[in-house]
Structure formats: structure tokens, C-alpha cells
């Protein structure tokens, strides 16, 4: 919001003027009204390992993050370039593997990746799209440049909060909002639906689309329902579906079986089909992979995309962009060391107290250590883990995430934030102007994940630069 000299950045002037008209009491009242409405609507997420009050509202901060138009245009170009490269990469590694043969990426990294699905070698997917929905996490460094922190190419969540946050802001500031010149995000469900219809088998112009959820106990269940309702499609669980001998997939309805053409699945690969992946999974649908391989089902995201958002493979995305598109990456990565290389391992072990070290396949802020705040014992334990499985870790210089004014118990104060824009890849690439700005509500904390005390705020992309 502020320049380094303390002056207000131009695209925040309008907002700040409006906020200055409000007394702290008025602001507090608006905030309480929003929280209560979230609770009554049940806009909540589930915290694992907390038996008593397992549902909490996702803390919402009333101070929006504002992005000027030119800055957004830059992000859009960078994200589109990135998703194109990732989809080309996935097609390549599941077919000819040219990028491995040309030694751009060491093949053992890809073939040994936890989420590489050998069963999908040589399988064609509808329209050659693997990642249909991507949530790429971005941060701004101390120079104000955006960097990519990670790509979420499996089942990125949080988009319902983006939509609900916008509704909340409109309700809280009914007079100010329309004049603020903010780009709309509300057509996300429609864009998602057209991307899903785009991958219907055999170009079926009128496919039956459904959202596949692990069920009511999943932390993102609210979001699954929300999206199904907004798109006007059925939400199904594994037990609602059956794959018959014709290798097509059907829903069980009160009037008999009905064929499903496209699934927007929010279940991870591991649980989606007990015939192929985890045998003990009750959430999935036996035979789903068979239906998909036979071309009788469109699936978003495709199976095996996790190899592209592996944190080690992440380091090679700029190289992918160069290799497939012949372009330089518009959005740089955060500087990263890969301990599977001996030099980087040595560096990581020797400098761990100054680094952030993360497991390659964990999410949600788990399986990581923040060197500068960790105790000696924690550092020792983590060193042992990295030494044991160097392929499974990466290390990065902690980026001091940019800070943003946030309204908390002690009034307004600076808190660290990141940004997750949502990219939809169908007939074209669509990037919803905005995204989920997550904020670390605990003072000084760098962890923005909802499971670990994070909250969110609305993200305003302006039609202009001020």
C-alpha cells in the first residue's frame, strides 16, 4: 500500500480516502457483520485434528489488496506463458519425453517423482490439456517484483473464498465499491464450466458435467458445493458413480443410471480409483481410470499432473518455457537450491539457519522449516531428514513477503501476504482478474495457509492504474 518512503501508492489513494471517512467503530461494525454472515452461510473450512469445533470461518480481512492494471497485465502474460509450458511439458513426459532425452531436466527427477503416473504413458487426453485449473502462488519481493513461489496443478482450492470475499466487500461498502473501478471476478463459474464442456469426449456438444468430491468431511467441501451450485451441475461422491462393462461412467439416480461425460474432480490421484491407485480408498470410483483411458470421460485436472507441481520440478519451469516456447520466463522463480545435487546439499546443510527448506510434495505449510525462526533441535532434525532423502527437499532464501495493512485485534497493522490467481485453461487461457490474497494474521508470521492461522482479503484489479 505504501512506497518505501511511506507515501501512499497511487492506486490506493481512492481507497484510503474512503477508509479515512470511517470511524474505527463503523469499521468494526462492518467487520462483525461480515463475519456473522460468513458463519451463518457456513462459509467455513475444517481443521484436521480438532474434534470439538472442527469448522471455522476463514478469517477475512476488510482491507483489500489493490493491483493496478499495468501490473496485472504483466502477471497475466507471465501466468499464461507458464501454464502453456506446463501443459506442453506434461504432454511430453507422458509421450516422447523429448525434454528428458535432450537432458534439459534430469530424467531420474521426473521418472522418480512421487506423482509421476507410469500408467499414463502414451495415453492421449482430450484436447491435450492436463492442467485445466491452476492456482499459482505469487509473492512480491523487497523490490516489488512478483516471483512464482509454487504452481498448484492438482486440485487447487480457495476460489470460492475469492468469490465470497468479493460479495462481502460489495455488501460492506455498497456506495464506495461501484465507483472503485474494480474488474469483476464473478464469471469464474461460467468460465470453468465452458472449460469443462470443452473436454467432453467425442466433442459431445451437450455433455453431463459433475463435480466429484471426497464428501462432506473434506476441508474444502463448502467450495465443491459452491462451484457445483454456481455452475448448475450435479455434485457427486464416489459412491454415486459406477463404471459399467461398457467402460462408461454413470451416476445412480432415483430414475436409474445416467451417464456422466466430464468430471471436475476434487479428489487426489491417490484416492480416485482403487483399482489403480490406493486399494483401500473408499472415496474413489473403481474403474474410473479405465473409463478415462478409453476416452469415455473428460477429467479435470488430468491424472499425473502432480509431476509438474513437484517443488523440485518447479525449479525447471523457466527452462521448460525456454525449451517449448523459445521465450524467457516473464515471471521469475524464487532462487532455489536442489539438495539432490551435492553442491546444493552441502550449501543447504551449512546454511539451513538462513534458509527455508521444504519437502517437495507437501502442501498447506506442512513439511517445511523456516531456518531463521527454528530452534537448534528442529534444525538438527531437519538436517537429518534432508540428508536421508535429498531428492525430496528444496531450499530457498526466505523472501520477506510484502506486507499489507490488515485490520486485527490491535487495529490496523502490517501483515505478510501472498497472491494466488486462478488460471483456467480451456479453449483459451483465462486468468480471473484478482485471486485469493492470503494473509498471515499472526504478527511476523510468514505462513499464510488457512490451516495455520492464515486469513484472506479481497483482491482488486483496477480497470486503470489509479
Amino acid at each position: 500500500m505504501f512506497e518505501s518512503d511511506g507515501s501512499v501508492r497511487p492506486h490506493y489513494k481512492n481507497l484510503l480516502e474512503r477508509f479515512n471517512e470511517l470511524s474505527e467503530d463503523e469499521f468494526h461494525q462492518k467487520k462483525s457483520a461480515v463475519d456473522l454472515s460468513f458463519l451463518h452461510q457456513g462459509i467455513t473450512f475444517t481443521v484436521y485434528g480438532d474434534s470439538e469445533s472442527t469448522e471455522r470461518i476463514f478469517p477475512f480481512d476488510m482491507v483489500p489488496r489493490v493491483i493496478p492494471n499495468t501490473e496485472w497485465k504483466h502477471l497475466e502474460r507471465g501466468l499464461e506463458q507458464r501454464i502453456r509450458a506446463l501443459n506442453l511439458f506434461l504432454h511430453d513426459v507422458y509421450h516422447e519425453q523429448k525434454i528428458l532425452k535432450d537432458k534439459i531436466i534430469p530424467s531420474e527427477l521426473v521418472l522418480g517423482a512421487k506423482h509421476f503416473r507410469k500408467a499414463f504413458m502414451g495415453i492421449d487426453v482430450p484436447r491435450d490439456i492436463y492442467i485445466h485449473i491452476c492456482g499459482t502462488d505469487l509473492i512480491r519481493d523487497d523490490k516489488g517484483d512478483y516471483l512464482v513461489l509454487e504452481d498448484n496443478g492438482r486440485c487447487p482450492s480457495g476460489v470460492s473464498y475469492m468469490l465470497e470475499n468479493r460479495q462481502a466487500m460489495k455488501r460492506a461498502f455498497p456506495r464506495f465499491f461501484p465507483s472503485a473501478g474494480v474488474k469483476s471476478v464473478l464469471d469464474y463459474p461460467q468460465r470453468l464450466l465452458s472449460a469443462l464442456r470443452h473436454i467432453a469426449p467425442n466433442g459431445n456438444p451437450n455433455p453431463t458435467v459433475a463435480v466429484l468430491t471426497p464428501g462432506v468431511y473434506n476441508s474444502a467441501y463448502f467450495e465443491h458445493c459452491f462451484l457445483a451450485r454456481q455452475m448448475g451441475v450435479e455434485i457427486v461422491e464416489g459412491r454415486d458413480l459406477v463404471v459399467s462393462k461398457d467402460d462408461c461412467i454413470y451416476m445412480r439416480t432415483t430414475e436409474g443410471l445416467k451417464q456422466v461425460d466430464v468430471l471436475y474432480r476434487r479428489i487426489d490421484d491417490d484416492f480416485i480409483d482403487p483399482e489403480v491407485f490406493r486399494k483401500d480408498s473408499l472415496l474413489g470410483v473403481p474403474g474410473l481410470v479405465r473409463a478415462y483411458q478409453k476416452g469415455n470421460l473428460g477429467l479435470a485436472n488430468s491424472i499425473g499432473t502432480g509431476v509438474a507441481d513437484d517443488k523440485v520440478i518447479y525449479c525447471y519451469v523457466p527452462a521448460m518455457i525456454k525449451y517449448y516456447l523459445g521465450e524467457d520466463a516473464i515471471l521469475p522463480n524464487v532462487e532455489t537450491w536442489l539438495p539432490f545435487r551435492d553442491v546444493d546439499l552441502k550449501y543447504t546443510l551449512e546454511n539451513m539457519e538462513n534458509l527455508v527448506v521444504k519437502a517437495a510434495n507437501e502442501a498447506g505449510g506442512y513439511g517445511m522449516i523456516i531456518g531463521p525462526t527454528a530452534s537448534k533441535k528442529e534444525l538438527e532434525e531437519f538436517r537429518a531428514k534432508v540428508k536421508a532423502e535429498p531428492r525430496n527437499y528444496i531450499s530457498q532464501t526466505p523472501i520477506s513477503l510484502s506486507r499489507h495493512p490488515t485490520y486485527g485485534d490491535e487495529g490496523f497493522d502490517g501483515r505478510h501476504i501472498d497472491l494466488r490467481p486462478y488460471i483456467i485453461c480451456g479453449e483459451d487461457v483465462n486468468i480471473i482478474p484478482g485471486g485469493l490474497t492470503r494473509v498471515a494474521l499472526r504478527k511476523g508470521s510468514l505462513v499464510v495457509n488457512s490451516s495455520q492461522g492464515g486469513g484472506s482479503k479481497d483482491t482488486w484489479v483496477l480497470n486503470a492504474d489509479e
Binding site: L39, H40, Q41, G42, V216, D240, S244, R252, T253, T254
Partner: protein, 331 residues
């Protein structure tokens, strides 16, 4: 409609109705007991036992509570999480069911169930059960009625709506029987029932079924047990009577199958038809004195069978393999 969704709509509705009915049962019983006892704390546990027995909860209650005072019973029926049929538990299950089908119901329907759940969760059981708070009963009944009104006014009156009606009507007919049955239990509680207490008990039953005014409009008379039974079992106009409730159930069942009510295409429809004709061709004489109690038991059993048949028909349909089916029909 997905079988699972039909199942959730049915149970969401049935559990909300059950929460309301449990409150009604408790309300009736407490009001009657207070005719003879001075305060809720004076009510001896032995007076509660028949109610617990009729709900099938006596064993569970006695295993959970070492001390058995009156407020323990009300705590057990209203709030206890280990009692699956406590008001709190039934509302929690109704909420889980509606959460599973949030995309199918109107947001207002979900919000009223969620608010009821939060209301119960934030209530202080100690405060409410120690000095029995009748306005608390009233609030729960109002939430349930609000839910019904909102459903009526915001939910598509199509297939899903009929499953909601089915859940509600089965539960309502069953609980009207059980509320009437409390009279038998009250008789067994006190050896000598004088006329004043007797009338007060029937009046409590009428109020528990929201039937007090209806009774006076239909009979314009002093309160008499046999007339109360006639109203609550055989009335074709009073919405909580058994006959009215299952007639509405029949309409819903046939709206689902689109089969006219003169025929039947599944077991649930057949059983409902049988039960309706039995009541339609009953007279107040068939309910006189103690004759009503075996009939109530029979109705309760039949309703159980109907619920099972309904579930077998629509909610857990066998997985039919279309390819195998085609092969069968061509063979």
C-alpha cells in the same frame, strides 16, 4: 436425482421434524407432570421412566447417568451428544445431511438449519434444564416451522420436494402416535386419576400437538379423551392427525412414481394404501378406551416398514449394469 441426494433430503426433513416432535413430547410430559408435582425438581425419576421406555432410550439413559434427577432426563433428551435421538443430535444429523446437499437446497433452507444448530450449540444446557424454560421449546418449534415455510416458499416443488414431504410426514404420523401414547404412561404412573388431572393431561396432549384450538372448533365441547383420540388419529382436516399425515405421504409417494393412487408400483405405496384404508374405515368406537393403544403400536410398526420400503425403492437401488441389462432383454 441422485439416490444419495434423495436419501439426504428425506433424512434432513425427517430429523428436523424429529427434533420438533421430541420437544413436543417433552413439553407434554412436563406439563402433565407439573399438574401433580410442584416443580420440575420434585418430579421423581420413576415418573420419567415410562417416557424413556417408550422412546427406547431407558437403557442408554441409565448407563450414562449415575444420578437420575429430573433435569438429567431433560438434559439427556435435549442436549446429550451421546444420545443419538437427543434434539441436539438430530439437529446435528439434519445439518450434516443438508450440508451434503447444499448445492441442491436453497441457501435460506441451509441457513435456518445452520442457525438452529448454532442456537443449540450456544445454549447453556445447565441453565435451560435446571429451571425448565418453556420458551426454549417454543423457539425450537418455531425454527422447525420456519424451515418448513422456507422450504415451501423457496424450494422447487418437484421430485426432491416430495422426498422432503415423505420424511416429514412419516415422522409426524409416528410422533402423533407417541404423544397420544404418553396418556397410557401417565395412567400407569398414578394409581388414582381424578377427572381434573385427567382433563389436564388430555389438554396437555392437545397443546403438544398444537391441536387445542382445532379441538374446540371441531367439537365445541369439554375435553374428552375419546374425542381427542378421534381428532388426532382419524381427522381428515387436522394437519397433525395420523390419517391426514399419511394421506399427504401417499400423495408424495405417488408424485415420485407418477402412478395414480388407485394403483401401486412399489411396496411403500402398497403399505401406505393399506394403512390409509384401515384408518379411513375406522370409527371413533374403534379407538374407545384402551382399544386405541394396540392400534397406535400397529401404526408405528407400519410406518417403520414404509420407511424401509421407500429407502429400498429409491435410495439404495441395486447397481444395475446397463450392458448386462441390454444383454438380458435381447436374450
Amino acid at each position: 436425482m441422485l439416490c444419495r441426494v434423495a436419501d439426504s433430503l428425506f433424512w434432513m426433513s425427517r430429523y428436523i421434524e424429529r427434533a420438533e416432535s421430541t420437544v413436543r413430547l417433552l413439553d407434554v410430559t412436563l406439563q402433565s407432570l407439573l399438574e401433580t408435582e410442584h416443580s420440575t425438581e420434585d418430579i421423581d425419576y420413576s415418573l420419567w421412566r415410562p417416557l424413556l421406555a417408550s422412546l427406547g432410550d431407558q437403557e442408554l439413559f441409565e448407563s450414562l447417568y449415575t444420578e437420575k434427577r429430573s433435569h438429567h432426563v431433560t438434559e439427556f433428551l435435549l442436549f446429550n451428544k451421546e444420545n443419538p435421538s437427543s434434539v441436539f443430535s438430530t439437529v446435528a444429523v439434519a445439518r450434516e445431511n443438508s450440508r451434503m446437499i447444499r448445492d441442491q437446497i436453497s441457501s435460506e433452507m441451509w441457513e435456518v438449519i445452520n442457525r438452529l444448530y448454532l442456537f443449540l450449540k450456544n445454549s447453556d444446557p445447565e441453565l435451560i434444564t435446571r429451571e425448565m424454560n418453556f420458551s426454549f421449546f417454543q423457539q425450537i418449534k418455531e425454527y422447525s416451522l420456519l424451515f418448513q415455510g422456507i422450504t415451501e416458499a423457496t424450494f422447487l416443488h418437484k421430485l426432491g420436494y416430495e422426498f422432503i414431504i415423505c420424511g416429514r410426514q412419516i415422522e409426524r404420523a409416528d410422533k402423533t402416535c407417541r404423544i397420544l401414547d404418553t396418556k397410557r404412561l401417565m395412567i400407569s404412573m398414578s394409581d388414582e386419576v381424578d377427572d381434573v388431572v385427567d382433563t389436564a393431561q388430555w389438554a396437555a396432549i392437545l397443546r403438544g400437538c398444537s391441536a387445542y384450538e382445532a379441538y374446540h372448533r371441531v367439537f365445541a365441547d369439554e375435553i374428552e379423551g375419546d374425542l381427542v383420540k378421534t381428532l388426532l388419529v382419524l381427522s381428515r382436516d387436522f394437519p397433525r392427525s395420523v390419517l391426514f399425515s399419511i394421506t399427504r405421504l401417499q400423495t408424495a409417494l405417488h408424485a415420485i412414481s407418477k402412478c395414480p393412487t388407485t394403483h401401486f408400483v412399489n411396496e411403500a405405496e402398497r403399505l401406505v394404501g393399506l394403512l390409509i384404508s384401515r384408518l379411513q374405515y375406522s370409527t371413533p368406537k374403534d379407538l374407545a378406551g384402551d382399544k386405541v393403544y394396540p392400534l397406535l403400536g400397529l401404526i408405528e410398526d407400519e410406518l417403520g416398514e414404509i420407511a424401509v420400503a421407500l429407502s429400498d425403492t429409491y435410495m439404495f437401488s441395486e447397481i444395475v449394469d446397463p450392458a448386462a441389462e441390454v444383454a438380458e432383454t435381447t436374450a
